[in-house]
Symmetry: C2
Subunit: 271 residues, 2 copies
């Protein structure tokens, strides 16, 4: 899905919600465990109930890999099931030397047909470029993450006065364009997002951490929204585990709708 189509989906649905399918076999409702593929059954019902409120779904690959070959099958079936007008993100945090990154790009863009994959920047340009070379696909580079460990390296100050994550933003924006490159920016502190917008005024940001990790939707939107929205805000556990009973899909829809309604307000404010 290209940028124009993504922006038109955001306008049509009045939503920039990305729902994270961190689907954990130990956390899904017990009545699903008898299904032939419980994780896929869970995802299917979550998607059916919530797709009108979301423009994107983010598959956290770790939860599928933890189940081995069976998990990889559930992952593939989930992606195949997602509607065509949904922006599909593989949250895989990959990145390796060039010839290996090319294989990861093949895995997520060709084999699984995702729209985007999250990539770790540590190994630099030649580890990121193979993802950017695939036409009409997106690389979502980690910049400033929402976890406490962001302090350890991302937030350190370089000799040139910039923080490591700022250097990642400045250097990498030349590797792609705002048509194929987004950034992961944690929502735990909105003031950082204002600063980030000075470096990359037009790129889309994928913002985790609203909800379970403590970010505030209105604040983050105020700090990061552009005229074309420029935000995908992710919520995972808050939506998919809104209930652990038979009403899980209904409750997920209710929560997703609540967030979408707040997003509609934020979009109208920025118009």
């Amino acid at each position: 899905m290209n940028r124009t189509k993504l922006i038109s989906q955001i306008k049509a649905k009045e939503s920039y919600l990305c729902i994270g399918l961190d689907s954990d076999i130990t956390k899904i409702p017990a009545h699903l465990l008898n299904a032939q593929d419980p994780i896929f059954e869970f995802n299917k019902q979550i998607i059916d109930a919530t797709e009108k409120y979301a423009v994107s779904y983010k598959i956290n690959t770790a939860f599928y890999e933890a189940l081995g070959t069976k998990g990889w099958e559930s992952l593939q079936k989930t992606i195949d099931y997602l509607p065509k007008d949904i922006f599909i993100i593989a949250d895989a945090k990959r990145g390796d030397i060039g010839n290996t990154s090319s294989q990861y790009a093949k895995a997520f863009f060709e084999n699984l047909n995702c729209d985007a994959v999250t990539v770790a920047p540590y190994m630099g340009e030649d580890s990121v470029k193979p993802f950017l070379e695939i036409k009409d696909k997106w690389t979502i580079l980690l910049a400033l993450t929402s976890n406490s460990g962001a302090q350890d390296f991302e937030m350190l100050e370089l000799k040139n006065g910039k923080k490591v994550y700022e250097e990642v933003l400045e250097k990498s924006q030349n590797w792609g364009t705002d048509e194929n490159l987004m950034y992961v920016v944690g929502a735990t502190k909105a003031e950082y997002i204002e600063n980030i917008r000075k470096i990359i005024p037009n790129h889309f940001l994928l913002v985790p951490g609203v909800g379970a990790q403590g970010g505030n939707l209105a604040e983050v939107s105020k700090a990061g929204m552009t005229k074309e929205c420029g935000l995908l805000i992710n919520s995972s556990r808050q939506i998919i585990y809104a209930s652990k009973d038979k009403d899980f899909a209904e409750m997920a829809a209710k929560k997703a709708q609540e967030i979408q309604q707040e997003m509609a307000i934020q979009l109208s404010v920025t118009k």
Copy 2:
């Protein structure tokens, strides 16, 4: 496999060779493509021919993921096939927020039963800790990689005077011990390895880049070897693609033996 066992394997085989199974369906000999599982058939024959010269095999997960569910099956079968006295590394470069890293640890340590997994440090302590918490398993953290992109962030100087990769080494060595934590250090410049040994005198280093990426075995060994060896030197393409014909396994063994013989000399020099 614990540290004592690994060191005794190195002594017994007079080898610190790790063979990288970057097995690419477009590069394996044509006559294998009719097999039911060509990648597994290739790996099996490579392992049979080379295992007496190597103490470790490193599975580059990207090449398997690129083939989807089928690739994940080949990966699992290869790990199951490897002998019990082999140190098995999943070269997966994972790393995410805590609850997600726990799922990756489950994938590679419990589901696939690997001894070690490579992890990217960008997201800091809480992204690495879940791997370190699994008993008798190893985390191999990226420090200084052998690709050109290492210049982009790893080699940058921080305000405190250290390079980013030096800060990764210093900070992370307190997250684990030399019994469960190793580091990836590229072999392209041996002088860096001397410097790294000043920061972490006892930790094992996994060194890629000897061979196809340009490092020199004798130089790297001189700079990095400890009394207990402390090195695993990886070679992938140079061994597994030594020939593209029916004699591929035989030629791979020949190449592996050549490297092992050089390693035996290096081990005897350091005694």
